[in-house]
């Protein structure tokens, strides 16, 4: 019952061409940079995985993390709410070139669709986007005199998530606003792979403080002192590194 994974390469080894991958984080907070870079390294060495559908709130920033995943050519489609950032050039160019498709989803609907995927709710109604372009083609129903849009659940083959502490059973805590989409994506993915800054034994996390219970997690890999996307971008980092 030990869900510990020995290293980052093993952690991302199961992701195959064409799969859907939820990636945690809101902007840089909660972005699992090391897992993403391990996936890029595998692609650069083997040509796989490619044609991924990636679900994230944003579309990357600079040339690391999700932006690098797009820049290196692994991503065929992005489902997100806000594909802008302080340095959005990678996604913007890929989108304008038609090499990455975009499904734009309001942020709260994105969160609720992911939760629904994890909670076995195939569809729900929301007031969000009613009367707008983003509701086009979706069923509309009236409840109590108000109109609502039907939205479908969102699941994925994999989730790549960054947590703070994790035990070997997969119980997780997060750090401040880095929590964001992580708990939801762990629920909605067939396999949730989590990088934790500190791996501990069962019992080390207060049962009251567990944010993601281990039932939602399939693999845990320890990454002490993980990189912050914001700090990498302020240092103009690239992945892979640009030869000097």
């Amino acid at each position: 019952m030990d869900k510990t994974l020995p290293d980052l390469a093993t952690a991302v080894a199961g992701i195959e061409d064409g799969m859907s991958v939820m990636i945690g984080g809101f902007g840089g907070s909660g972005a699992p940079i090391e897992l993403i870079h391990a996936l890029i390294d595998r692609f650069l060495a083997t040509g796989h995985p490619k044609n991924l559908t990636v679900i994230n709130n944003n579309a990357g920033n600079g040339h690391v993390g999700l932006a690098a995943l797009i820049e290196q050519g692994l991503v065929a489609k992005l489902i997100c709410s806000f594909p802008r950032s302080s340095d959005p050039v990678v996604f913007t160019e890929a989108y304008k070139a038609g090499s990455v498709a975009l499904e734009l989803v309001p942020q709260g609907t994105l969160a609720e669709r992911i939760r629904a995927g994890g909670a076995g709710i195939p569809a729900f109604y929301t007031p969000t986007s009613y009367g707008t372009l983003l509701a086009e083609g979706k069923p509309v129903e009236e409840f109590d005199g108000r109109f609502y849009v039907q939205e479908r659940w969102l699941k994925a083959d994999y989730a790549l998530v960054k947590a703070h502490r994790g035990d070997t059973l997969g119980n997780l805590t997060y750090r401040m606003a880095a929590r964001n989409f992580g708990p939801l994506m762990c629920m909605a993915a067939a396999r949730a792979i989590v990088q934790v800054s500190e791996l501990v034994q069962p019992g080390a996390i207060d049962p009251e403080a567990v944010i993601t219970p281990g039932i939602f997690v399939q693999g845990v890999v320890e990454v002490p002192d993980p990189a912050q996307e914001e700090a990498l971008n302020r240092a103009n980092a690239h992945h892979p590194e640009v030869p000097a």
Binding site: M1, G120, D167, N171, P202, V210, P213
Partner: protein
Amino acid sequence: MRLTPTQMAWRAAQDIEDGAYVNLGIGQPEMVARFQPPGRQAIFHTENGILGFGEAPEPGAEDWDLINAGKKAVTLKPGTAFFHHADSFAMVRGGHLDVAILGAYEVAENGDLANWSTGPKGVPAVGGAMDLVHGAKRVAVMMDHVTKDGKPKLLSRCSLPLTGVGCVTRVYSSLAVVDIEGGHFVLREKVPGLSFDELQAMTGAPLHTDGPVADLIAPEL
């Protein structure tokens, strides 16, 4: 020559894999937790918001904030987690449980289950059963093979109000282990000394076989 409830629980426990996430129905199925085979450790879920709880405490040591779905006191174990009811049923409905083992009034050969209502008289109560039968990857039933007055509980169709449609895949009865496959009862094990025809006579729909029928033998417990 018939299994006690404790022995049925023992038998059901043999099929639970190491690391499985398991919900046990209130009442007799709760006993399954006592019989995990050596080297295997399941993680038990209870609807009221605990994952990975331990056995009952010593009498007098109960904490009534730490109870299972049957309102019996349980204990903490390393790795326990608490959560609210919506998260708890996200685990159930979302397909995250590996196994649910429930009691039943009736099971039909099409996998239908009736375990919440004995009809319009009395106070109806459903609890989490209707969620569990559509959530867990494997839904098994543990029950006597016949009613107290000898009538079959494995039927061609349920006569009582349904809990779920086509949801049960295995029955651990006091006389047999029966799988439900393709709308049929498939006999896997029966207690020794009972002939196929005798078992069929106590079963309300045809028993099929598609291979050897093993002896259902449980230790004295």
